[in-house]
């Protein structure tokens, strides 16, 4: 396979460094990266020594017309601009999990994509975990009978100390919108950061949401974006659900992610349960963890572990889509309804009543 000439844009998304390995991946030819202003010393770019670096996306793409694909690893507010730049040049895109939270912008992106030859994959890593596949198989095999209820949590730390844009409503959500009338807390926190459980609800149940009700709670951090969101509702099939994407796991504030940043019990949890007429499943997708009390501060904490030599997830899918024409696991088109649920949850918190989709 001819290596895909690729760039990484901005490099200030929390998942960006997970893609730095493409520098040594024979399927890719990493030609350049752009770095978001203010993030040079936070994002481990020393690992990409020798790769052309730019402070401006347009200058990077102009200087490297050979680039045929990008990993869009930027703050959410920057995505529309980057989509436009790429679509104009028919550059393929691996987008992080939130293309935008503004549905009008989302539709604009879809419209621009139709006019281009770009392939767009959306990174939603739960599609590369074995546990949800087992849940889907059990549901579709009738193990729990008729599904009546679905619960999922994607609770985590808040990465705002390391990546400040997560704590800035304008950069995380795209604009400053109070979470409730008169509130100093704005949209752009946990609901913005954790679309996975909304996606899993649709994917595992093969269903769509028709109504949501959501609440928030006082923040545990001194932050401008919401730490808590509790989302309930019902699907077309009549399945009720509760989703918790809260930033309810705490962290030691650290400018750069390193040992000592995590706090007990875990930095992230993804639990999911399915209840049905004939049985129920209670699950923990992020259960394979090791606990320790190591340096620098001897906090009892934990880290996830897994097999070596696993599937590469989104990057494998992206390579397959670009070079072999394989359909992306998550398309921009499919992902829109997930963003619409999050949008409805925000509106419900603001209005204090259930919102229909």
């Amino acid at each position: 396979m001819e290596p895909i000439k690729v760039a990484i844009m901005s490099c200030n998304h929390g998942h960006a460094r997970g893609y730095y390995g493409i520098k040594n991946d024979p399927r890719f030819d990493l030609r350049a990266i752009s770095v978001a202003p203010g993030y040079h010393d936070r994002i481990f770019i020393e690992k990409l020594e020798g790769v052309d670096q730019y402070d401006d996306d347009e200058k990077m793409l102009d200087a490297h017309p050979e680039i045929e694909a990008v990993i869009m690893a930027s703050a959410n507010w920057y995505h529309l601009k980057q989509f436009k730049l790429c679509f104009e040049r028919n550059i393929h895109i691996l987008s992080m999990k939130i293309p935008t939270l503004d549905l009008n912008e989302y539709d604009e992106i879809l419209s621009l994509k139709k006019k281009s030859k770009s392939i767009v994959c959306v990174e939603l890593e739960m599609h590369y975990h074995a546990t949800p596949y087992r849940v889907k198989e059990l549901i579709e095999g009738g193990k729990v009978g008729k599904v009546t209820s679905f619960i999922a949590t994607n609770t985590s730390h808040n990465p705002m100390w390391w990546l400040p844009w997560h704590g800035l409503p304008e950069e995380s959500y795209g604009k400053r919108v109070p979470i409730k009338p008169g509130s100093k807390i704005c949209r752009g926190g946990c609901l913005t950061d954790h679309p996975h459980i909304f996606d899993m609800l649709r994917w595992l149940l093969d269903d769509e949401v028709v109504e949501v009700y959501a609440e928030t709670a006082p923040n545990i951090r001194n932050s401008e974006v919401e730490d808590f969101a509790f989302v309930t509702g019902i699907t077309k099939k009549g399945i009720t659900f509760s989703l918790d994407p809260s930033y309810s796991r705490t962290e030691n504030p650290a400018k750069i992610i390193a040992d000592g940043w995590e706090q007990y019990p875990k930095r992230v949890e993804v639990n999911l349960s399915v209840f049905g007429s004939d049985g129920y499943i209670i699950g923990d997708s992020y259960g394979n963890w090791i606990n320790h009390t190591g340096l620098p501060n001897h906090n009892y904490t934990s880290f996830g572990c897994g097999h070596r030599y696993g599937y590469g997830g989104s990057i494998d899918d992206f390579a397959d889509a670009v070079r072999n024409g394989a359909p992306p696991t998550i398309t921009l088109e499919r992902h829109r309804n997930t963003i619409a649920i999050i949008d409805a949850a925000y509106r419900s918190i603001y209005e204090g009543k259930p919102v229909k989709l």
Partner: protein, 234 residues
């Protein structure tokens, strides 16, 4: 996603994912571990070292300081000597040091073991060759700058990823590897081990380790209740 049903299918998939050529290979059942033969080479297959919760014990060396001790238990549907071999190798891997003194007290299919290593670290591990069931274990690994454990503070047996309750009873699933979805945990470990040995392994070094630890286990189990010492007994 393509489901995997056998170790062989899993190995094929791991090679295919990386567009690597899988050589012909053969797996032989040894006394305490399986042996893989390929391309005229032979190596022991230490599948248990690929278990994420065993591998994980070795991943924070840089912030844990020097190894001091490890305690734990291991129960499995395996022979007692195979369990002893396994736990000594896990400890050697964690301590980065070779065993030099072993004392075994044995009663039937159970054994209580103390071992010392060349860096002075100590191991205390209880073994039970159950003859049925899954491999259960807990390790607590103490170092000069902290401890690391593969079970959380209030847990002594594995927590299952998925717990399924129906009128006909309780089932659980422990899927942890997307690429090898469908394989039982020990089979997934074996598929990863085969891939690792063929693509990254050091057959000579692993064979020497196996030969050395086989001697330790033989001598220790022939001398229960006595200290057996490197240079004197093995």
């Amino acid at each position: 996603m393509e489901k995997v049903y056998t170790v062989e299918e899993g190995v094929k998939k791991l090679f295919a994912l990386r567009k690597q050529v899988l050589p012909d290979y053969e797996i032989l059942q040894g006394k305490r571990y399986k042996i893989i033969k390929w391309n005229g080479k032979s190596a022991p297959l230490f599948s248990f070292l690929e278990h994420p919760k065993i591998l994980g014990l070795t991943l924070k060396r840089e912030i844990l300081g020097r190894p001091c001790a490890m305690t734990g238990y291991s129960v499995d549907n395996a022979a007692l000597d195979a369990l002893l071999f396994r736990e000594l190798l896990i400890a050697e891997n964690c301590f980065c040091s070779e065993v030099n003194k072993v004392t075994v007290f044995r009663s039937g299919n159970s054994a209580n073991v103390t071992a010392k290593f060349e860096n002075d670290a100590a191991l205390s591990v209880s073994l039970h060759a159950a003859g049925f069931g899954d491999n259960l274990f807990k390790h607590e690994f103490f170092n000069t700058q902290g401890m690391i454990s593969n079970r959380s503070v209030d847990t002594v047996i594995p927590q299952q990823a998925l717990n399924v309750y129906t009128a006909s009873g309780y089932e659980y699933f422990t899927d942890s590897n997307y690429a090898l979805y469908g394989l039982a945990p020990s089979d997934a470990d074996e598929a990863v081990a085969i891939y690792a040995v063929i693509t990254h392994g050091d057959a000579l070094k692993d064979s020497a380790t196996a030969e050395r630890l086989d001697r330790v286990v033989d001598v220790a189990l022939k001398n229960v209740g006595k200290c057996v010492v490197k240079g004197e007994d093995f």
